[in-house]
């Protein structure tokens, strides 16, 4: 980008969507980088799974990258999140290294959970990710507890709880939202509504049209955003973080999005039409949308995009190599970490 046109871009920012006014071009290009990293990480994990290098199962968030990145954008390094079984994107968005994530999926000691957790329990406590969760809505009360700690210890931390549309019909969701509201805790509830709880659509499972409407029952703001548009998600998250940080209590954000892949590796995809999936992939892909915007607004050019794609490809290849080369846990360590080791 030439110097003159860059200045013009900056001057015209006032008319652009939120993130282009709020964040620097470097930060925004880094967002695109991270969105690609999430996408390619999951594609890489899927390929490793297909080739028999990773066992178990995994839940891919391909198609939901803008939601993870948008929500985490305004978070500080020591803010915390709880995540879900579809949590790879959240983990990367909060700052995890893909090499240690791959190592975890390969069940290696260098993985974030030393090979004990795998995809469904991926965590990065040092970066504030308190863990993905195999129980739908399991992380929501835990996030409220973390927010209670923040309030009691006066750390100023904000906690985000990610969950899916399926979780909004669990009792834990309702109990947790109520407590967060009565105690005005610094927590943000983020429902990534991808339309289906496993195979059951929200239309068939949920009495309200929009999950954000549930917020009214707990006297908190309920915000609906297009989860495939990074700027929209980040703007809603920014406001919710400000509100939480100011001691005004929780917010429920419904981020409407779509997963391109099936629920898990067992999905035969009998509940969605091919046309529906192809429509989302072709017309509402969050990475394509953001990349196009960045280019249209002059924040990046084709060369810059290619550089990001190349860098990500290398990170993924290096991450997989790191995982392959890492040591497997000794069987003798089976019972480690069940209890805290005491001197």
């Amino acid at each position: 980008m030439a110097g003159a046109s860059k200045a013009a871009v900056v001057d015209s920012r006032a008319n652009l969507p939120f993130v282009y006014r709020q964040y620097s071009p470097e930060q925004l290009r880094e967002v695109l980088h991270k969105m690609y990293l999430i996408r390619r990480f999951e594609e890489g994990a899927e390929e490793c799974y297909t080739r028999g290098l990773i066992h178990g199962t995994m839940h891919l968030s391909i198609g939901q990258e803008a939601s993870a990145m948008g929500i985490c954008m305004p978070l500080a390094a020591d803010d915390q999140i709880t995540s879900t079984h579809r949590g790879h994107g959240h983990c990367i968005a909060k700052g995890a290294e893909v090499s240690r994530m791959f190592a975890e999926f390969f069940g290696k000691t260098t993985g974030y959970c030393k090979g004990r957790g795998g995809s469904m329990h991926i965590a990065d406590v040092a970066k504030g990710n308190l863990g993905a969760n195999g129980i739908v809505a399991g992380g929501i009360p835990i996030a409220v507890g973390a927010a209670l700690s923040s309030k009691m210890m006066k750390t100023g931390k904000v906690v985000v709880s990610f969950f899916g549309d399926g979780a909004n019909n669990e009792g834990a969701f309702h109990e947790a939202l109520n407590m967060a509201a009565i105690w005005k805790l610094p927590v943000i509830f983020v429902c990534e509504n991808n339309g289906y709880g496993m195979s059951t659509s929200t239309a068939r499972s949920t009495a309200v049209k929009n999950i954000a409407e549930r917020a009214a029952a707990y006297s908190m703001p309920g915000v609906i955003v297009n989860g495939n548009i990074f700027s929209e998600v980040a703007e809603a998250s920014f406001k919710a973080v400000e509100r939480a940080r100011a001691g005004e209590g929780p917010t429920l954000i419904e981020s409407k999005t779509y997963r391109h892949r099936g629920h898990s590796k067992s999905d035969r995809n009998r509940y969605r039409t091919k046309e529906e999936i192809e429509d989302w992939m072709a017309n509402r892909d969050p990475i394509t949308l953001f990349e196009t915007e960045l280019r249209d607004f002059g924040f990046i050019d084709d060369q810059g995009i290619q550089a990001i794609r190349d860098a990500v490809a290398k990170e993924i290849a290096d991450g997989i190599e790191f995982a392959k080369a890492s040591p497997a846990p000794e069987i003798a360590t089976l019972q480690n970490y069940v209890y805290t080791e005491q001197a």
Binding site: A123, I142, L148
Partner: protein, 332 residues
């Protein structure tokens, strides 16, 4: 009163432990239903809210699952919550957070976190509260690696084990028999701990080992006293902790007495008595046995309302006397 003779009730001992812990450590706080101005359903928290305020003695909504999860989340992020389930039966409402989250979080995350939460469960029958407010579910939780499960049987141990639980880095579940709350006993002043995972021999004897838990410890001691006149010398082991279980104390006792009777209030089948029996049968103590191992546990029924039926559901002192006598005299 002479400090050495100071007596407190079991409920007072627990309250004192919580107060001491809150004085010592600002991270310690209490959560539960009606534990504030109401003082708790069994007056265990009593007036603590007046001393420590509503920020540290937190009345929760009637939300056992959410409440347990909030306690877990607070524990993982640096606080030391003590969560009171109003009745142990309500553990069923919080099972997800106890079993899937609290117990497994450290393991699943490869040791990156600890979950120093204490959960208190008023348990057991004998109050006329019928089937949904009288159960003994400790063995359910005792089956879960990652949890520690304790059943203090005296006011002294209630205070000391609770203080040990609060200091423990892992989730500790305390089952408190509701009929013990009014039991009085010597409780030292100030801070002390009674170790988790260590059984206690309450009475030494040569003829029979009774391994008892919770309220059954006192009943076993009463039975032992009654059989003294018949020349039967009973050793009573108070298990105190069911996870991690102190097998060695039981095994050593059985090697000495050659007979084992397990007495517990929970439903007999698949309960703590089965575990203790199997531990002994698998150990070197098996060769010392002079009689089959006998279990006295709760009947295979929910706890009924009618007081006579209710009493008949769980082992009573005459039942223990009869079983012990039969075992020693070789009737069984």
């Amino acid at each position: 009163m002479d400090a050495a003779l100071r007596e407190l009730s079991y409920a007072q001992a627990i309250q004192e432990a919580m107060a001491i812990a809150m004085d010592m450590d600002e991270r310690v706080f209490l959560m539960g239903e009606d534990i504030g101005v109401y003082g708790g359903a069994f007056q265990v928290t009593g007036d603590l809210v007046e001393r420590y305020g509503t920020d540290r003695v937190i009345d929760t909504p009637i939300s056992e699952l959410g409440g347990a999860g909030v306690a877990v989340g607070a524990a993982v992020t640096g606080m030391r919550p003590i969560f009171e389930f109003q009745f142990s039966d309500f553990a069923t409402l919080g099972m997800e957070q106890i079993v899937n989250q609290a117990a497994k979080m450290r393991f699943m995350l490869g040791g990156e976190v600890s979950v120093p939460v204490v959960m208190r469960f008023p348990a057991g029958s004998g109050t006329g509260a019928a089937a949904q407010h009288s159960q003994s579910l400790e063995a359910w939780l005792g089956h879960v690696p990652g949890l520690k499960v304790i059943q203090p049987a005296t006011p002294h141990d209630a205070k000391g084990m609770l203080l040990a639980a609060i200091a423990d880095p892992d989730p500790v579940m305390i089952f408190e028999h509701k009929l013990l709350y009014k039991m009085k006993g010597h409780v030292p002043e100030g801070h002390y701990t009674v170790p988790i995972g260590k059984a206690e021999i309450r009475r030494e004897g040569r003829d029979l080992t009774i391994v008892a838990t919770s309220i059954m410890v006192q009943k076993a001691l009463d039975a032992a006293a009654a059989l003294e006149g018949e020349g039967i010398d009973i050793e009573v082991v108070d298990l105190r902790t069911i996870r991690p279980i102190d097998g060695q104390t039981v095994i050593d006792s059985v090697k000495k007495t050659s007979r084992l009777l397990c007495v517990y209030e929970a439903v007999k089948t698949l309960g703590i008595g089965a575990e203790v029996s199997a531990m002994v049968a698998e150990s070197e103590a098996f060769d010392y046995l002079d009689a089959p191992i006998v279990r006295l546990g709760g009947a295979e029924t929910p706890i009924p309302y009618n007081p006579d039926l209710e009493k008949a559901t769980v082992p009573q002192v005459p039942d223990i006397i009869a079983a012990a006598r039969d075992l020693v005299k070789g009737v069984r």
